[in-house]
């Protein structure tokens, strides 16, 4: 018997500028995320800081994912399957707040982003659905 869904799964891709973290994306980023979680130990953070490329080579990440880490390009890393809860461990290792890390993916400067939040955050108007344009 065909099972009813409340909405088509493809609708998860219908939210503007948003990558919903799915099991499939999690799989793509598994080794990137393994690296991120390794930064939960102080000795690993020290080793990473002492030689980033050599440290990254210990993980079976793709070359693009390694480059994304070296560039601190969180937007690219999210395109490559990454999820902010893992990536924020890289930002924390760099001494960056979660707000600053998030702001780097928003297309705004950290200052503009912080000001937007102080003024009540980003309105959902017009960015709920690509298809609906609302």
């Amino acid at each position: 018997m065909a099972r009813q869904r409340l909405y088509p799964l493809a609708d998860l891709e219908d939210i503007p500028g948003t990558k919903v973290f799915t099991a499939k994306r999690s799989r793509e980023a598994y080794h990137l995320h393994k690296f991120c979680m390794s930064l939960m130990k102080a000795e690993n953070r020290d080793e990473f800081r002492a030689g980033e490329s050599a440290y990254l080579d210990k993980f079976k990440m793709t070359a693009e994912q390694k480059q994304g880490v070296l560039d601190r390009d969180l937007t690219r890393l999210i395109e490559l399957g990454g999820n902010m809860y893992f990536l924020v461990k890289l930002a924390s290792t760099d001494g960056l707040s979660a707000q600053k890390a998030v702001s780097t993916t928003s297309g705004m400067s950290a200052e503009e982003y912080a000001q937007m939040m102080l003024e009540g955050g980003r309105s959902p108007e017009g960015i709920r659905s690509i298809r609906g344009g609302n």
């Binding site: 500028g17 919903v20 099991a23 102080a42 809860y85 998030v102 702001s103 955050g121 959902p124």
Partner: protein
């Protein structure tokens, strides 16, 4: 018999924990947030439970990578604060009530919630920030805590309805535990926020405030909200609010709302805090 006497819901923003740990709660940015928590601190000091069942989500600290359980209950004797990339938070160790946790596990499976038990894990800000917000900075937490992790980060997550039913099942489980225990349920996370992309910083105050109204007075309206609606309306991380439904479901119908607080922003997030007392004495 054990009984659920009250519930708390609160956001668990990591920067709030950092503000507490670094002594910044009276800074101009943070003071309005912490002022909103004065009530719950006072209430909790007069209504300290024996056990808190604390619904939270792990943020890639113990779960999410190698193992992604939908519902997982901490089953160790105790849980340390996790090192999330900047060292462990200087907070007390969380002590479990293993007998109650074992009883709940047994009852949940009878109710068709095939729960995962975790015998070794650290707890991250999702669990420790609510404890700090409610109990301050004591040498030891004043009660036992059963950490109950819900996957709200990796799709497929459970639905809001499933979380509500989980809460109901936990209520039934607690009621049948023979020891005389005062139990609270806490739902944590939310409110609206999104942590990546061109929608980062999304806050939906109107939606959040309606959620707060309905959670107290008409939660049936909230139960059918789809995961997609949470994502669209409250951001990819706003879906943490389904853990508030687990809390509310565990309180039974009819609560006395003792406190409601809403504030934007804390870091990337809309902060909410409610305190409910259960009307039913069962």
């Amino acid at each position: 018999m054990a009984r659920i006497t009250g519930g708390i819901a609160t956001s668990h923003v990591p920067a709030i924990g950092a503000a507490i740990d670094l002594g910044k709660t009276q800074d101009p940015y943070w003071k309005p947030v912490f002022d909103g928590y004065e009530y719950v601190k006072e209430w909790a000091s007069k209504n300290t439970p024996d056990v808190v069942i604390l619904f939270y989500n792990d943020h890639a600290s113990a779960l999410m990578l190698d193992i992604v359980p939908t519902f997982a209950m901490g089953f160790a004797d105790s849980f340390q604060s996790a090192d999330e990339g900047w060292g462990r938070r200087p907070v007390p160790v969380v002590h479990n009530h293993v007998d109650l946790a074992a009883h709940i596990a047994e009852q949940l499976v009878i109710d068709e919630f095939d729960i995962t038990l975790i015998n070794d894990m650290d707890v991250d800000h999702g669990c420790t920030v609510p404890l700090s917000l409610v109990f301050g900075q004591p040498e030891e937490w004043p009660c036992k805590v059963i950490p109950f992790a819900v996957n709200v980060s990796q799709f497929p997550t459970p639905s809001g309805e499933r979380c509500w039913k989980l809460g109901e099942a936990i209520r039934n489980a607690v009621k049948t535990f023979p020891e005389d225990l005062n139990v609270q349920v806490w739902g944590t996370g939310g409110m609206s926020h999104q942590l990546h992309g061109s929608r980062a910083g999304l806050i939906n105050e109107e939606w959040d405030r309606r959620f707060l109204d309905l959670l107290a007075n008409d939660p049936d309206e909230l139960i059918p909200i789809t995961r997609l609606e949470y994502l669209r309306e409250t951001g990819t991380e706003g879906i943490e609010l389904i853990m508030w439904l687990a809390m509310r479901g565990a309180l039974g119908y009819g609560v006395e709302e003792k406190h409601r607080f809403y504030r934007v922003p804390a870091s990337n997030t809309a902060v909410g805090n409610v305190v409910y007392e259960a009307k039913s004495k069962e």
